[in-house]
Amino acid sequence: MRQVLIGGMLLTVAACGGGEKAGSDTATAAGAAPAAGAAPTAMAGGSVTGHVKFDGTPPANPTIDMSEEAACKGKYTGPALDPVVMVSNGMLGNVVLYVKTGLPAGQTYPVPSEPVVIDQRGCLYHPRALAIMAGQKLEIKNSDPVLHNIKALPKKNRPFNISQPTEGMTTTRTFTTPEDDVPVECNVHGWMHSNIVVLPHPFFAVSGEDGSFTIKGLPAGTYEIEAHHAKLGTKTMSVTVPADGAATADFTFAATGT
């Protein structure tokens, strides 16, 4: 009898510490924007558009020797470059822009149903920087015929580490808590890096190769928009958005000592 009790206690201990069933891929608390209580506000019609420019000569991007992964190396005609600072014709891409302040306190917003996609292609992350809302699906795609292993190292969210051996496969993850910067790397290709900004709202964009961006769905108001680049730093600008209208904001970055 005593043995049964001891066994039962041990089993209970094991079960308590057990955690989730394997296969659950999303973290708990679906779609949690931080403020509880009020129902999510519908998206409004205002927007902020603009361009991010780069002043001066951009620093050379580091070359990557992909000799150890022939299947990726073969996708490039010359040496592969890590597009840390992606400048073309004076326009800067891969800058993450988002509303920093100005949204009414306690307001929650619907989590966008489309996922944010991060693609592993040519043994690089595309995009190299991205923003996502807490609770929004991150779709991780492997477009290479090799195994990638994406490892996210957040401090406030639960870290993840996923292998994807097959070309074309996708896996989905979610972040529950806003976080300024979640570094992402590939465990088997040490040069692959990306950064994710997790926001409490859906008002963000990433500048394209031509430097352009649009943040949509904003209600009328004055906002501080922040433009963040992993290497070049952060810039802010105050923008007033009319109801159902577009406001413009242009940012300029320059080379730094970082």
Partner: protein, 590 residues
């Protein structure tokens, strides 16, 4: 003389019946203190884990033979293990870890020590039960939650432990390096609990053998199975606490912030290796000694001849038990420890080859001039000798430190360990299960299917593991998810395929054994008291024996292997058979 055996009433001279057994079903078969039932309980649990360990091996072999291909039925596995049926590298690492863990701790060790230690010791020494029957019951029922804990690791986030069954730190203690946290913790706790089970069993065995031998059962009349279980029990008693200690340190590093093995805060990764292997090497002798002992019993029986060199066989068992403590560093030749230590361990390792060689020669010597019956247990026992020899000889390569530089952590090691653990221990287990099945269950296993199982197993087994020597000599490393990543391994990939296909066939063949085992339990031919015409005391009681084993305490007159004795017409002479005064009990040694 009268004896009180637990709740069995006193029995008297003159062979009065053992009294009616008044125990309830639960006390008879579930929470039983009867060593025979406990032995059978361990048998069922261990055979289940043997099967599970084999299933894990099949997934490993699938991935190695057909890297990155979706596995048949792989779709049942969750995305964290094998999305689309394609095994993930992290899952592969936990597969190799858990295959080793299940096989070593939950299959081979309990099969040899828990099953046959429990079943044979009281019967073969003429005792009614173990010295501490209730502790014996506890030993099994503590092993059960250990088993559940070990299974639970597959269902937690991060998956099961994935740092190898050897669990080297710092990989095993850092979730950021391995991706595993809860699984490794469960692994640790499970083994601590299992260690308790083993330790409880071990001092029971030791006490029983020392104190409860029947009159006339002198030390040098003990069958070799009992000698080996005795020395094994001492090894278990001394070695398991070391493992538990090391695992507790690992657990503390993982959970409460100690730094025994973490170098950043002053710990030593090599400390884990020393502690683990100081346990680990005696552990492998725990995994082979009972097999050797039982093989001796069965070979003498099959050859109808006394064991050749009984005294040397005993000395060899003792020698292995003692020398086994001084060789642990041979697992660490490449570890970064001082090379001078390597030389010392090399010497001690070379020496331990000697007692094992003695045993092989003596088994051959037993068959020499015998009158060999090829019953199924004998087939397995002879295969044991043959395969263990290969395993032992391959060990010499890795004992030679310069050669070990090349073959360490390659498939040469995998071949070696499987030749001694499967070719050795598991064949001996098949022999022992078949041999003592009639005594345990009162039925015979089918000899025909036993032979089919034996021959197919022998063939496929060698097709699986012999080529691994060649893979290792080619440089094929262990524990690698996809060998085709290396150009130099691409040419030997066809060997991996051959091994994998043979492994699938080997696994399928074991279903024959499983079916034979289960069906014979209900439909096997009823077993007589002594179907193998063996000399042991267990064959002088009914099949299965009653609770309390012996109606009267046996009196032992002679050594255990008096086959083909000139003093009787039969070719066997049980240890407790009384002969007329004039006939001596055994011939003097030549």
């Amino acid at each position: 003389m009268a004896t009180t055996i637990g709740h069995v009433e006193e029995v008297t001279l003159g062979g009065a019946e053992v009294h009616a057994d008044t125990r309830s079903f639960v006390r008879k078969y579930i929470f039983s203190t009867d060593h025979k039932i406990i032995g059978i309980q361990f048998l069922i649990m261990s055979l289940i884990f043997l099967l599970l360990g084999g299933v894990l091996a099949m997934v490993i072999r699938w991935q190695l033979g057909f890297p990155k291909q979706p596995m048949p039925m792989g779709g049942v596995l969750p995305e964290t293990m094998a999305p689309g049926g394609v095994v993930l590298p992290e899952f592969y690492n936990s597969l190799v870890t858990m295959h080793g863990t299940f096989m070593v701790f939950f299959a081979i060790m309990p099969l040899l020590v828990g099953v046959f230690g429990n079943y044979l010791i009281p019967l073969k020494i003429g005792a009614p039960d173990m010295a501490f029957p209730r502790i014996n019951m506890a030993s099994f029922w503590i092993a059960v939650p250990a088993g559940f804990l070990m299974l639970a690791g597959f269902f937690v986030e991060g998956g099961h432990a994935a740092a190898g069954w050897t669990s080297y730190a710092p990989l095993s203690e850092r979730a950021d390096l391995s991706g595993v946290s809860m699984g490794q913790i469960l692994w640790c706790i499970s083994l601590i609990v299992l260690g308790l089970s083993s330790i409880l069993g071990s001092f029971n065995y030791i006490t029983t053998i020392i104190n409860m031998r029947a009159p006339g059962m002198w030390w040098f009349r003990l069958p070799l199975s009992i000698w080996s279980l005795f020395v094994t029990a001492i090894l278990v008693l001394l070695a398991m606490p070391i493992l538990s200690g090391a695992i507790i340190m690992l657990l503390f590093d993982q959970t409460i912030g100690t730094h025994f093995f973490g170098p950043a805060q002053g710990g030593q990764p090599l400390l884990w290796q020393h502690l683990f292997w100081f346990f680990g090497h005696p552990e492998v002798y725990i995994l082979i000694l009972p097999a050797m002992g039982m093989a001796s019993d069965i070979i003498a029986n099959g050859a109808r001849k006394p064991i050749f060199g009984y005294t040397s066989m005993v000395l060899a068992i003792l020698g292995i038990g003692v020398l086994g403590w001084g060789v642990w560093g041979h697992h660490m030749f490449m570890s970064g420890m001082n090379p001078t230590l390597g030389t010392q361990f090399m010497i001690s390792t070379m020496l331990i080859a000697v007692p094992s060689a003695i045993k092989v020669f003596n088994w051959l010597g037993t068959m020499w001039m015998g009158n060999i019956r090829f019953h199924v247990p004998m087939l397995h026992a002879m295969a044991f000798v043959s395969m263990f020899t290969i395993g032992g000889l391959s060990g010499i390569f890795m004992a030679a430190t310069p050669v070990d530089i090349y073959i360490h952590y390659t498939y040469f090691i995998v071949a070696h360990l499987h030749y001694v653990l499967f070719g050795g221990s598991l064949f001996a287990i098949f022999a022992a299960v078949t041999f003592w099945y009639p005594k345990m269950f009162g039925r015979m296993m089918s000899p025909f299917w036993g032979r089919v199982h034996f021959f197919l197993t022998f063939i496929f087994y060698n097709l699986v593991f012999f080529p691994m020597h060649n893979l290792g000599l080619h440089g094929h490393m262990r524990r690698i998810y996809d060998p085709t990543q290396y150009d130099f391994l691409k040419p030997v990939q066809p060997i991996n395929e051959l091994i994998s296909i043979s492994a699938f066939l080997l696994f399928a063949t074991q279903l024959i054994f499983a079916v034979n085992f289960i069906v014979s339990w209900f439909k096997g031919a009823k077993a007589p008291e002594n179907p193998w015409e063996d000399n042991g005391l267990e064959w002088t009681v009914p099949s299965p024996p009653p609770h309390g084993n012996f109606v009267t305490v046996p009196q032992v007159y002679r050594a255990p292997y008096e086959y083909s004795s000139p003093f009787v017409t039969e070719d066997f002479l049980p240890q407790n058979r009384e002969l007329p005064e004039a006939a001596p009990s055994a011939a003097p040694h030549s």
